[in-house]
Amino acid sequence: MFDLPPTKTLTALTLAFGLMASASAAAELVVGMQQEPTSLDPTADATASIDSMMTQNVFESLTTVAENGEVQPNLATRWEVSEDGLTYTFHLAEGVTFHDGSALDAEDVVYSFDRAMAEDSVNPSKDIFEPIESVKAVDPQTVEITLKGKDAFFLFNMGQGDSAIVASETAEGNNANPIGSGPFKFDSWTRGDRLTLVKNPDHRDAADVALDKVVFRFISDPAAATAAMMAEELDAFPGFPAPELLPQFEADPRFRVNVGSTEGEVILAMNNAKAPFDNVEVRRAVATAIDRDEIIEGAMYGQAVPIGSFYPPHGTAYVDLTGAYAHDSEKAKTMFEEAGVAGETMTLRVPPFPYATRSAEIIQNQLSEAGIDAKVENVEWGFWIDEVYKKKNYDMTIIAHTSPNDMGNFARGPDYFYGYDNAEMTALWEKIQTEVDPEARNELLKQGQQMLSDQAVHGFLFQLPLLGVFRQEVEGYWASSPVLYMPLKGVSIAN
């Protein structure tokens, strides 16, 4: 204990005396992250790692979602729904404060929603606010939200990072200095290296939070991630990027390996607004040219489930459409020839994630067998967000869509980077959203899957697995993730 720097010793002492609890030192968890975001505001940027670090840890929403997908109370301790299902009255928890000390009340909730719903809002999931008619503060502890029509996903969506409650005074600074109300406070961010959170002692559930400090370390390279894990520099790597190395960790008694599911559909996205992908026959030819089994074996070392449309295989409305375009290079070649694009060159812009770069090489090979020359460009994440996602400047790309209930992406019209504009799909999604009967909704979701598969909007590849490597001592991590976040509230380190 003597080699600790003075400040650290002091903190440990303060804690020991302050809490009069066990004599153990501050519990610190070091977590490996593959993707470093460029902003820390989940209400302003689509990067998934923002949610995995910030949502429900630093920022809180009205509701939250449990590991099994069930909606639970959060900032709103309870709520009532009117007879017609259009008005929700949320009762906020008493005495909640933001990390800067200011109180969180109904006005902040109204502000957060106004900000997300505004014309110039940069919220990455603006569509989830679409059904909302108005948000009103009834009194400081009560908020009333009125919907335009019934919304089956409303309470679920209220538990996402996109609908985090932020304070008007600090909202603008949240991209670099996030201030929320969650069980952990943002401490520091050293770009390219690490991000540190510390426990928020004023949180209403502080007694249940076992960790005093959480350090996220950004390690994008799988080999470096493995080395850091092996050296026990990291306690956990919940989104481990190298499936081929899992057997090695499984064989090591120091570690525990978890293979769970996520909401992430990995797709070979095609720019539907741009020739030649505006032609459904070309997209079908691409779907016929790709061989999912080979991609899963080669890129994911067998650790993934194939998908034939845009819906996770563990979902209740799942239909297996993986057989819709059976892999057949010769047939694909003929299809490309008939569509008049045989021998063309297309670019495949790939973000820097192992699942994407590895799949790209295999897909390139499969396309070349079908007579298409795909040029692979490995690009940086910032470049991808800017050029592909925002400016829609691409032919094809490979990306995982990790948001839950995200079939609505296909109803976002030509402004979304898919460039897919289909009134039928938009109408269907509207119906799905407003259908509150689970059985009927599942039927509609099945129709949606069929429609997307029929039109071969993208090449649907596989469901992104949640591969986690943990030190045996780390407990309480989710095995599967129905949402983008990974709450640290229940995580602890056994001694």
């Binding site: 390279d221 799988p222 790209a360 460009e377």
Partner: protein, 272 residues
Amino acid sequence: MRRLPANFLLGAVLVSIVVGIAALSLIWTPHDPQTMSISTKFAPPSATHWLGTDQLGRDVVAQLMAAARNSMTVALVAVLLGGSIGVALGLLASALGGWVEDGVMRLADLGFAFPALLFAIMLAAVFGPSLTNAVLAISFINIPIFARVTRASANQIWTRDYVAAARAAGRGRFAISRDHILPNIAAAIIVQATIEFAVAILAEAALSYLGLGAQPPASSWGRMLSEAQTLMYLAPQLAIYPGLCIVTAVLGFGLLGDGLRDITDPRLVRAR
């Protein structure tokens, strides 16, 4: 005949092997270097796959051969391109002297100060990463090197009596540069080119390793290394093979360059 120095012989042997393999890959490789067979990934060495297969079931020998060709092509183009511009600038500086010479040499200093890798990253940022941009970047760093060597050697030749005679006979500066200067400094340039060849091979490998050079599916030693890096725990041989190839090629051209200098440099011959 004088005994050839050992470094020259060893270098010549290594270079012959590498160039021979690269040339052979034009007409024959044991398998197609691009053909994947994911069911037989990480196969151990066997009669069909002499060095086994990689993470996507591609034949390692075929890839190494194709990569050798890629490496030789890049180095050749980069040295020829950078070298010809550099030599031309050097001759020009030496022939004209005065402010032209000063200007060219200051530009060369500027070029020296600019790291090649940074230049390649800049090119990649503007035009996207590609092998062409990598070749351009490597060519660019060669220009000042050749300009300096050429000017220094040429300045010596300009003081010779036969050059003075040619000038007295009324020949122009450019004609003299071409007919008298260039042939007499050719040895120095060839030595430099051989050494720069080794540097270019290393630079191509580094750029491809960083994803700024050869793009998939083109085979490149650097790219093979970077792919193998993530598999170090699983299949370390995949990193060792391209590593050995880079070492062999760089060492070969380096030794050959040294050897050539030992043979051609009159000062060194006299000192022996």
